[in-house]
Amino acid sequence: MLQRISTYLYLRPQLVLGLLLGPPLLYMLVVYLGSLFNLLVYSFYYLEEFTGLIVREFTLRTYAQIFEPANRDIFLRTAGMATAVTIVDALIAFPLAYYIAKFASARLKTWLIIAVTIPLWSSYLVRVYAWKLILAQEGILSWFINLLRLDGVLNWLLSIEAIGGSSLALSPIGLFIVFAYIWLPYMIIPIQTALERVPGSLVEAASDLGAKPLQTFRTVILPLAFPGVVAGSIFTFSLTLGDFIVPLSLGNSKFFIGQAVYSYQGTAGNIPLAAAMTMGPVLIMIVYLLIARRLGAFDAL
């Protein structure tokens, strides 16, 4: 019996392909893409203010609401934060990735890769929670800053209108530190992968031809590792754009996109506006992915 089924299938590769591809494709297309499409449709509906009901007819007025000053500020604030986090993460990640890829011994390398991978996969919430402890007013960071007698500097930073706040945990600075911390592993690993692919012979050739180490780094290694940086930035940027856990847990009352979507959807019941606002990050990510693909970043993913 099995033999006959086996022969039957062997002679019909198209059928086998259909059987293999059918379930996952159906699931992803129907459940996932279907939901996304449904969300897109909702973004063209609008919420009738007086009745609080969603009116199911095509309109662009929900999108117009996005450009109201309050919502525009939310977009700019979130994009600014995502940019800052991406840049700083690239700066922190590069030396570590470079060391792992090019200098660590085989044994040390295995351990370092595990040390970087564990935070990547381990509990995101717990890692946010850690900063709740650290940034608390009576917590370890304040203690440390007081120990170094730098509290004057901290208070000065917190008094700056744009980035300050009543305390570290409630200020954009605190939020920024947490975002940078949470997404850092997503930057390290693509850079490390890209650096692994830089052939040692190229580096040797550069130095044989008289390039100083710094020159080799700047003209050979850095350009070749750049797709890795772009690949990492896809994650840091996208994740910061959509996150609402960090700003809800720390931060002040100034909204970020994720938070705004969360509250429009939840308490306000304004699904069309929430849907329209998520289309912002989706659009940004699609453009970003297209640019990244041109830069060859997908090979480093």
Binding site: I5, P24, Y32, L96, Y99, R127, K132, L133, E196, T278
Partner: protein
């Protein structure tokens, strides 16, 4: 992996310090949670700790709400992982063995749930589920989790397939094994560790997920949702510390094992998410 640059230049002190700094930044915050599980302080996060106590471990053990949340999380993760294993392996097999129209798009489609911000998937699923008047339940959580777990299994298994010798399958068939025997004795042993690694990562991913879950769970409380409620409105600080440490350790194990499994077969596919 390329050979070690043993003959190459040594790392400068500055680079070593920068690398060490990055590593410490990644890990010290986690140690601080472990430290705080010992604090007797119930209402603040005072540092230095005013003393040491082990009593919170006992208190956490007694909490029925925690046990319920943990059980739910484990059940969801188990079912989502099984679904991801089946769907991910099927997709990987299809992409590996055939050329077909839209093959490139499959990877893109599967990676979408983790490339797009979680809030997009979450609200999309919630709106769809709500639109069909499906009650929010255990199964709606699982459906959400399975979407982003599939890609992890898919990546691991596909990478293994690509490394496998196609000639082994041909040899098996030439020697008279049918498709099922070939799968059982040739293909499966080859991909078993990739399945295990992918499965464990999918489990860790699901066990910890909170963003999509907040949208697809009704009144259900998974462990991450419990922690999230404590993050926004801290009521049981010492117990939360213990739970945080527990979650860290419980996810640590599958990640560590998956990493070792991948390293053994010189795969690095577990690394890029």
């Amino acid at each position: 992996m390329p050979s070690k640059s043993s003959s190459g230049p040594k790392a400068s002190l500055g680079l070593k310090l920068a690398a060490l700094g990055g590593l410490l930044f990644l890990h010290v915050p986690i140690w601080i949670i472990f430290l705080y599980t010992l604090t007797p302080d119930e209402t603040t996060f005072t540092f230095p700790l005013p003393g040491f106590t082990l009593k919170w471990f006992g208190v956490a053990m007694q909490r029925a709400d925690l046990w319920r949340a943990l059980t739910l999380s484990l059940q969801v993760a188990a079912v989502a992982t099984v679904a991801a294993l089946i769907l991910g392996t099927l997709a990987a097999a299809a992409v590996y063995r055939s050329r077909f129209f839209g093959r490139e798009a499959i990877s893109f489609l599967l990676v979408l749930p983790i490339a797009l911000p979680g809030i997009v998937s979450g609200i999309a699923l919630r709106t769809a589920i709500g639109g069909f008047d499906i009650p929010f339940s255990f199964w709606t959580i699982v459906i959400g989790h399975a979407t982003f777990c599939v890609v992890v299994v898919y990546n691991n298994v596909l990478a293994r397939f690509r490394r496998m010798q196609g000639s082994q399958i041909e040899a098996s068939m030439d020697l008279g094994a049918n498709a099922f025997q070939t799968f059982r004795y040739v293909v499966f042993p080859n991909v078993a560790t990739a399945l295990l690694a992918g499965g464990m990562l999918a489990f860790a991913l699901s066990f910890d997920e909170v963003i999509v879950t907040t949208f697809t769970a009704g009144q259900q409380t998974t462990l991450p949702i419990w922690i999230f409620s404590q993050l926004t409105r801290p009521r049981d600080r010492p117990v939360t510390n213990v739970v945080a440490m527990f979650v860290m350790l419980i996810t640590f194990i599958p990640i560590f094992l998956a990493q070792r499994l991948s390293a053994q077969s010189s795969d690095t596919e577990g690394e890029t998410k």
